[in-house]
């Protein structure tokens, strides 16, 4: 009921009432389906919920109020870049010319979108320092798969078929090793050095003729720039492997470091992080992939081509035979890319540089503010995020990072990413982003410091948190042991169709 009353909501199914709803679509002729053979028809209508529009609205309005969101408060979820999503981008994606265009429309009908995509590729190529970009992948992990499949095709085309391994640092995001597996590679995990960077010796030891690629997240998931990246890249190339950069953390280095220019062969970009397309409660995103010239032949098809007369078209089937093929249906998550394009245009060169400067400044400011209350495992200049650890607090008080995270909820903040990367004990990865004000950063630091105090003075208040949220901690064990993944017991929409 919003501002007052019970906040948790019944399910759509509990709200259902046979005979409700209707009035939206004219009824087709009664014999509309007569020509469909009985055997192919559905015997029992699906038992979908029947609601009238007012109930639908209340359901989703009230449910939405149970969510924490960037639009309601500070969301310093490390590695996820939860920054402000400009509203003009939402408007742009909904322009009928963009939103209503059919993906199988002939090129002549799609010139506006094709031009936008072509321009966007160029902008991303400039930012990434790459020679070409594909906009097809639907997310970061999808971009990784696309990139690693190109690596595979590259080696295979050169007859280099013994390269079956991908080196991945232990601090990397889970998508990296999972991608390697999906692309048919074996993952070799490289430990981190004491300074948080890749252990270069271990790396050199693992590198060899079986190495197809290295996947480096830079800045790393610890928020640290790999300062020995030059060495790593050189060794990789000397070994005949390719260097993949996980660009999920590009937000930190816009205009400061262009991976392609620096020697990476291929990288993906998360538009839903760096270019602020909204995360949507878990998606959608887009994961454009940039490549250097030697990988261009392998880019997925179709790409956008500009003709001499200034018109645009999609590549035709088979036009680039070395392509790894499609990684999805149609051309890409265009609605997401329209938003990214608008964001990029609004910022321009100077704005993008400021994005990174301010993101990095904010992270370092928080690091400085939290230094006394929390252990900062790598207490040097971080990039857009940094890891703090409650390991000492835990030793002293028994209060764990999980508890601190839950207690932050009581204080009105979304918790940071916790226990990631897995390499840091009781870690929390804090990413403030560039769109949060100093007042907000201070309030958050104050809250975390206060909680550190509570852990000492009144640990129970922390370990039993949250107290103010719509629900308390959940029974995840039962959820996994006896999974209830769908509603049962609707009796089916067998009521006569209402008018």
């Amino acid at each position: 009921m919003g501002v007052v009353g019970e906040r948790l909501q019944p399910t759509l199914f509990e709200r259902s009432h046979p005979g409700r709803g209707g009035g939206k679509i004219p009824h087709p002729p009664a014999d509309a389906l007569a020509r469909i053979p009985e055997a192919a028809r559905r015997a029992t209508p699906p038992a979908l919920p029947e609601l009238n529009e007012p109930e639908v609205v209340r359901h989703y309005v009230n449910l939405s109020q149970l969510n924490y969101a960037v639009d309601t408060g500070f969301y310093p979820l490390g590695s996820c870049t939860m920054k402000y999503n400009p509203k003009i981008d939402e408007w742009a994606a909904r322009l009928p010319g963009f939103a209503g265009l059919h993906p199988m429309a002939p090129d002549a009908v799609a010139q506006g979108t094709l031009e936008l995509l072509f321009e966007l590729e160029a902008i991303l190529a400039e930012i990434s320092g790459m020679d070409a970009v594909t906009l097809q992948p639907a997310a970061g992990a999808h971009g990784e798969l696309t990139g690693i499949l190109m690596v595979r095709a590259y080696h295979r085309d050169r007859g280099d078929t013994e390269r079956t391994e991908v080196l991945v640092p232990d601090s990397s995001h889970g998508t990296n090793p999972a991608t390697a597996t999906m692309a048919g590679f074996r993952t070799i995990t490289i430990p981190s050095a004491a300074d948080g960077g890749v252990d270069v010796d271990a790396f050199r030891a693992a590198l060899g003729p079986r190495t197809a690629a290295i996947m480096i997240t830079n800045p790393s998931t610890l928020g640290l720039f790999e300062s020995r990246i030059g060495e790593l890249l050189e060794a990789t190339h000397v070994a005949g492997a390719l260097a993949y950069m996980d660009g999920a953390n590009l937000n930190a280095i816009l205009g400061r470091f262009r991976p392609g220019q620096a020697g990476f062969d291929v990288m993906h970009i998360n538009t839903h992080k760096t270019f602020s397309t909204p995360h949507g409660g878990g998606g959608p995103g887009a994961g454009p992939v940039g490549v250097r010239a030697h990988l261009v032949p392998y880019l997925p098809s179709p790409r956008v081509v500009r003709e001499d007369d200034g018109t645009f078209r999609l590549e035709r089937d088979g036009e680039r035979p070395a392509s790894i093929g499609r990684v999805r249906s149609f051309t890409g998550s265009i609605g997401v890319l329209v938003r990214a394009y608008a964001y990029l245009r609004a910022h321009g060169a100077s704005g993008l540089a400021e994005v990174s400067d301010d993101a990095v400044l904010a992270a370092n400011y928080l690091r400085a503010r939290l230094r006394d209350a929390y252990r900062i495992p790598f207490d040097r200049a971080c990039k857009h995020e940094f890891v703090a650890s409650a390991s000492e607090i835990r030793q002293r008080t028994g209060v764990r990072t999980l508890d601190i995270a839950k207690r932050l909820i009581d204080k009105g903040f979304h918790p940071p990413t916790i226990y990631f990367p897995l390499t840091v004990e009781e870690g929390m990865l804090i990413e403030p982003t560039e769109t949060e004000s100093l007042e907000t950063l201070d309030a958050f630091a104050d809250a975390l410091i206060e909680i550190a105090g509570e852990a000492a003075s009144d640990p129970a208040v922390v370990t039993s948190a949250p107290h103010e949220a719509p629900v308390r901690r959940l029974d995840e064990a039962t959820a996994a042991r006896q999974p209830n993944l769908r509603w049962r017991g609707m009796t089916g929409a067998q009521t006569p169709c209402p008018d």
């Binding site: 939206k24 679509i25 087709p28 509309a32 469909i36 053979p37 529009e53 639908v56 609205v57 109020q65 996820c80 003009i88 994606a93 322009l95 009928p96 209503g100 265009l101 059919h102 993906p103 199988m104 002939p106 010139q111 506006g112 999808h142 090793p177 999972a178 991608t179 999906m182 048919g184 993952t187 720039f225 470091f257 262009r258 620096a262 909204p278 949507g280 409660g281 878990g282 998606g283 959608p284 887009a286 990684v327 999805r328 249906s329 051309t331 998550s333 265009i334 609605g335 245009r345 321009g348 400044l361 400011y365 503010r369 200049a381 990039k383 560039e434 004000s437 959940l474 959820a479 993944l485």
Partner: protein
């Protein structure tokens, strides 16, 4: 920076606290020789000017045509309530519900989505979403390999070519073999999956098949003998993946009923705008025994410490952030907001509304078939179809282009869609839905009659003819 909060003063205060004199210091760890110069991009564009630019670009797309395009993406009318609810920041500016205590909105909505799709597909386990129909189909096919520990996949050639190509790309990566099941070339079953050929392909005991993939309706709009395909697959120890279109499931038998182990498909028809191809909604559903193979997120119902009902992500050990290289898939960011759109659409339109949408498409397609036949473009196939059909038009590609100039988007030349497929050289795949109007159909038929009259007088058949040439 247009959306940033910091003034020079704020920055100075932050620098002071950090104990440095310039932001540049924070980038000293980037090796000097690898630092980049300023980006060569345009300067920031104020929103007022950006507005004009975007309006101009969008205006260069033509969305005012009488369109008969389908083939995997469908024009539907979406109640405005759907987008108005989606535009709430609480939905679209949240992230994956890692902290369930402050994410019950998203979690419950995913649980409801799973339930709605389980009901539509007749399969109990539904993932929280995949990238799109193509990726979902590929992931479903990979599931069959993991579950059977076999490495050979059979895909009907009447599965959308993009899905087949995506599947091929994924399979190549995973070192799997994909073979296509040919289509019946002529006769009553023309255009559907060749069951005899399927039998032969499954019969090769040396190379056991993990999964058989077929689409209902298939990419030519035809209804397949899904029970027979499923039975054949099962007889050979393979799993059966049905590629489905969710609106059709209001009236067509659900995969769970005809023996599919997995359903995959594109959720776009459930209230999601066309947007030239995305973001869309990949649907993957499976039977309970396959639960540990399904990729992507799952949300389950549970209770909190006080016993209150609540929802949480569950069975996470399949996922990349926990399992890393042993994960069921690398998927992380998915299509949650689109799953929400689909749920709101289903809630708003209701079961009867969904049936009306599906049946209206069928009714409009019947009308379209008759009008085109009368204009000289009879249907090519004899089999049953729902709302997409292929008509024969001599010199289809050229006619298609000329119709475009007359404001009619006359579907898709089948020669492009399924190159080399016998009997489809002269076809147009056309589609009708509840938004297709009689006026649009008349416009199409009228323009076609003109074109066919103008281009040739050696009369094409005036009535539907079954089978291919």
């Amino acid at each position: 920076m247009p959306y940033g909060p910091h003034t020079a003063d704020d920055r100075a205060r932050m620098l002071a606290r950090i104990g440095i004199d310039a932001v540049d210091r924070l980038f000293d760890d980037i090796p000097a020789d690898l630092r980049s110069g300023p980006l060569r991009l345009d300067p920031p564009e104020p929103e007022l000017e950006l507005t004009a630019r975007l309006v101009a670009l969008a205006g260069r797309n033509r969305v005012d045509l009488a369109s008969f395009l389908g083939a995997g993406a469908y024009r539907h009318w979406t109640p405005p309530v759907v987008d108005q609810l989606l535009l709430r920041g609480e939905w679209y500016t949240a992230y994956t519900p890692y902290q369930p205590e402050v994410s019950q909105g998203t979690l419950q909505s995913i649980y409801e989505y799973q339930s709605l799709l389980a009901e539509l597909t007749g399969l109990d386990v539904v993932s929280a979403s995949h990238y799109d129909g193509g990726a979902a189909t590929a992931e479903a096919a990979l599931m069959t390999c993991r579950a059977t520990r076999r490495e050979r996949l059979l895909v009907s050639r009447a599965v959308h070519p993009h899905y087949r190509e995506t599947l091929a790309t994924y399979a190549r990566g995973a070192g799997l073999t994909v073979e296509e099941i040919p289509l019946v070339p002529d006769g009553d079953a023309a255009g559907t999956t060749d069951l005899d050929a399927l039998g032969r392909l499954l019969g090769d005991a040396e190379r056991p098949v993990a999964g058989v993939v077929a689409a209902q309706p298939n990419v030519l709009g035809l209804l397949e003998e899904m029970p027979a395909i499923g039975a054949a697959a099962h007889a050979a120890g393979a799993l059966f993946v049905a590629v489905v279109e969710p609106v059709s499931l209001a009236v067509l038998a659900p995969p769970g009923e005809y023996g599919a182990d997995i359903a995959a498909g594109e959720g776009q028809p459930l209230g999601i705008p066309l947007q030239y191809g995305g973001p869309y909604l990949g649907i993957v559903a499976c039977t309970e025994p396959l639960i540990r193979q399904i990729p992507g997120r799952l949300v389950g119902m549970t209770t909190d410490l006080d016993g209150k009902r609540a929802f949480v992500m569950t069975m996470r050990a399949r996922e990349q952030d926990i399992r890393r290289e042993k994960a069921a898939s690398n998927i992380c960011t998915n299509q949650a907001l689109l799953a929400l759109a689909a749920s709101i659409y289903l809630a708003a339109i209701g079961p009867h509304g969904l049936r009306d949408v599906a049946a209206s498409g069928a009714a409009r397609a019947t009308e379209l078939e008759a009008a085109l036949a009368a204009a000289g473009a009879p249907r090519i196939h004899a089999g049953a179809y729902l709302n997409e059909l292929v008509v024969r038009v001599p010199d289809a590609g050229a006619v298609h282009a000329r119709l475009l100039e007359r404001g009619v988007l006359a579907g898709i030349p089948t020669a492009h869609l399924l190159p080399g497929e016998p009997g489809l050289e002269d076809g147009l795949l056309v589609c009708a839905t509840e938004v297709t109007t009689t006026a649009d159909i008349e416009r199409f038929a009228g323009a076609l009659r003109d074109e066919l009259g103008a281009s040739s007088t050696n009369g094409t058949a005036q009535s539907p003819v079954a089978g291919a040439a």
